[in-house]
Symmetry: C3
Subunit: 177 residues, 3 copies
């Protein structure tokens, strides 16, 4: 059996809000003809529904889309297959969902990392960089920021390629394009 692609093939795309990170991540996934979009955003209010629909329109056809606000490890295990690219957008929102729903975060994160270590096809992960502003006033926001930063570090260790995107333009932090 000859491997068709390097394995694991995991790209991590980091960036701020409206940095163009999703569009860049989509351009990486478009190299594959079969694509599954794992959307973590929850339809909690009108603003989020608007954002989710705008993203979906912008993405266009050619994607199978699953909304996976919490059980991401399971979805990755079920959907990963050779020559099928998974795009997970975004991990930071998923982390917020876990906290909001009172899930056991360390366990969920460990399960995610295990699932990623065993994928059988390419994966593109999107995550937010949230630690570059002033220290937040409230303890919950500080705790979230710490969790998100540590998750990004864990994902970056696992990933083959890591990009930091600003104004739609990537800087390669790890690997080569």
């Amino acid at each position: 059996m000859t491997p068709v692609e390097p394995h694991p093939d995991i790209s991590l795309v980091l960036g701020g809000a409206r940095s163009g990170k999703s569009t860049f991540a989509e351009s990486l996934a478009r190299r594959y003809s079969r694509r599954v979009y794992l959307a973590t955003a929850e339809r909690v209010d009108a603003e989020m529904v608007r954002r989710i629909e705008a993203h979906r329109r912008q993405r266009g056809p050619g994607w199978r889309t699953l909304e996976v606000p919490l059980d991401l490890a399971d979805a990755i295990r079920q959907e990963s297959a050779p020559q099928v690219c998974l795009l997970v957008d975004c991990l930071t929102v998923w982390l917020g969902n876990l906290m909001h729903h009172g899930r056991a975060i360390d366990a969920a994160q460990a399960a995610l990392l295990d699932a990623l270590a065993e994928v059988s096809g390419p994966v593109v992960l999107v995550a937010n960089e949230v630690g570059l502003g002033i220290v937040p006033d409230n303890a919950a926001a500080r705790a979230f920021r710490d969790r998100a930063g540590r998750l990004n570090q864990a994902l970056a260790r696992l990933a083959t390629r890591v990009y930091f995107v600003a104004a739609g333009l990537p800087v390669v932090l790890k690997g080569t394009e």
Copy 2:
């Protein structure tokens, strides 16, 4: 007619607050002996007046300075000329001014991009990266952050060169120095 310089010649300098982005942008503009500074800051309170004056002192002589809080597209059309470098500092403040004064933002932004596409001399644009902190509590700040990020992406598509500045030091995101 032989072109003396590549055209259009638009540099975009991105960075956070007090990242040294203005000083770096000025160093790009100083390559030209004729320079026009288009300042977008409004003299709304004592803090802003202090900041504007400090910037002006730091910049030194050798600049024609125009304060253009809103009608930026018009100013760019009027001032752009071969061998005259325009420095616009900064686009994010301009965007905030548009919102504050209830101007039609999409139209103003389209007019700006049109004006930039037709400049006859070099332009250096400064913009703030504001999306790398924790998600703001209030919806207006989130909307501003989204607008600013999208504007930065549109400017980056148009620009020949894009820099991200931290602690006074540039990373090239697009083009070459």
Copy 3:
């Protein structure tokens, strides 16, 4: 007398909260067998004590640790020696301490820069990038952000090498690795 290493040998590691900047800075310092850790965090509340202790555990043995919340220039002068690496973590917290205790900030900063210019061994400095979020609502946070950004610029001018760290991965802003 033959110099064993380039002098001065100052590295500045910039990054956001939980960006992995401290771990990366430690990896730079571990090239030296004799290491002094100058910790600027104050044990002001339970959260800070927890963070300080977690950092210390993570760092492991092999470090002499001094807690220096305010008198950093003195500590650097006293501890710097050939073949002894000083790691200062972090300058942004130190700046916050100065403001909180009503110290004369310009004088303290000038003293720090003087001390750094005269070190006799390698130094690794860690500082936070705090200017990449939305403009803070309150004037004190804006003033702190301005001070921190200007301090980072001053340190970057002095440093031989400057890194920007995201998700544990460095981008070289100045010098070479």
